[in-house]
Structure formats: C-alpha cells, structure tokens
C-alpha cells in the first residue's frame, strides 16, 4: 500500500583538503608545493584550505602558487581559503599585495572549514 509519504535524501559531501606548508614557501620550494597541490586537485578535490599559519617566509614565487591553487579550485566550481600567517611581516606582505582581497582570509582552519 502506498502511503504517499517519501523522504528525499541528498547527501552533499564537500571534500575540503587543508594544506599547511611548514617553513619557507619560496622559489626553492614552490615546485614541490605546486606538485602537491596539483596532485590533490587531480583526485577531484575542489575546495582547499591553504594554511599559512606556520609559514615564516613567503616570496612572489610562493604567492604565485597560492593564486594558481585558487584558480584551479574555481575552475572546478570550488574555492580556497587562506589562513593568516602568524608572522606579522608575512601578514603585511599579503596586505601590501592585496592578496587579502583576492582570497577569503580566515583566522583558523576551523573557521575556514565552516565557511564552505
């Protein structure tokens, strides 16, 4: 007997991966970091949390990789969040280059994860 009652369940699983580079993110290390980010995106992930809290040094090569990651996410209809570095000089560089306008900045990974 058909009761006319049904429940539609749609499960939406957001795969969000947090990437937290430890140490300097500079021209010497961006090749490896770029490969790591790409390999994660290649698995179908489209949301990233780029945690710079433990990044004491960031140069323009490192910044380029961050932008590339954001572009790749958005190409997949995803997005990326950036966690503010603890190091004040790095924070100022992100503000100087207006990266804090390009990225949605968060103060913690938890805050970033909750924002998707």
């Amino acid at each position: 007997m058909d009761s006319g009652f049904s429940v539609a369940i749609k499960e939406d699983i957001k795969r969000i991966v947090t990437i937290a580079p430890q140490g300097r993110l500079d021209a010497l290390r961006t090749g490896e970091f770029r490969q790591q980010v790409q390999s994660i995106l290649d698995t179908g992930v489209k949301h990233l949390v780029l945690d710079l809290s433990e990044t004491p040094f960031l140069d323009s090569a490192g910044m380029a990789v961050l932008v590339t990651a954001l572009k790749r996410c958005r190409e997949r209809d995803g997005d990326a969040r950036l966690i503010w570095p603890r190091a004040e000089p790095v924070r100022r560089i992100l503000a100087l280059t207006k990266f804090d306008r390009v990225f949605e900045m968060k103060n913690s990974v938890e805050e970033a994860l909750a924002s998707f």
Binding site: A27, L28, S60, E88, R92, K98, V102
Partner: protein
Amino acid sequence: MNGQPDVGFIMQIDQLDSGTRCGATAHCTVVPSATVMLEIPADLAYVHMLGRCICALLENNCELEEPDITLYNLELAVQEVGVNIINHAYAHTGGRIQLYATVDSQSLQLTILLHDIGNSFDPEAVPYPRLGELQEHGFGLFLVRQLMDEVTYKASPTGNTWKLIKYLPVKTIDLKGK
C-alpha cells in the same frame, strides 16, 4: 693578494659601478666601513643566503625600529632580485651572483648592489601587477620597489647591477671599524 677573494674580502662599491669584477683582485681595496661582500652560485638553493647576509649585517650593527618587519622586508627584496637574476639573467644556466652591502652611519643608508654577468633585463617592461585580482606573476619587482626606497638597474658590457637603497629606521647604529 692573488686569486679569488674570500667572502670576507671587501671591495669598494664605486669600483663595482665602474665595471670592476670581483675576480680582478688587483683593483680590490679593503675599506674601513661596514661593507660586506658575498658571492653565491646563481642557484635557487643558495639564493636565500643573500637576504640572510643583509640581516646578519644589520643585526649586529643597528638597533632597528620594528626590526622583524625591516629585516624581513630587506630579506624579501634581496631574495626577489636574486631569483630574478637566476630566472632571467642566467635563465637557470648557472653563473654567479655578487652582493655588496654598505651601511652609511651618517645617512643611515643601506646600499645593496647585486651583480651578474648574464643577460640584461628591462625592469620597465614588467607591468605593474593588477592588485586585488587573480594574478600569478609580476609581484616580485613590485615588492622590491615597494620595500626599498630606491631601486635602479644598470646593464653594461661587464655585467648587470641592481642597486637597492633603504634608509634605515634605526634607533642606534654602531658600525665596527668606522
């Protein structure tokens, strides 16, 4: 002196400007000022040493205002120029980068020269980055110009020289040997 000068050997800045190469030891002169010289392979594995050299020079001689910020900014600016030399002047084919840094205790001016003998570069051809937009490249030279007070580039038959000047925000300065 014969042969290549060691890292501790000091060379007058004006000689470098006139095209003297560091290997030409007959033209080198030890000067009693807070000048340091460092030569590294043009390789990303060594480029961080340029900025560290500047920080080491200032840490022992100056009491800076906001030292963490000032030293970081100088390290970043020098790093960006060093990477530019590796990527553009030498195009990852090797070579050497020479750094000369001088602190003038009167003007509180830090002068940094970075010298290479690779391909010349046209800084004016680098467009200003579109700040606030999704742009991957073009921030290196922008940062150098923002973080230093003066930036000039000179190409000559004997090589290319970046000249970076920063007027140091110091509380005190004590240059040994000055």
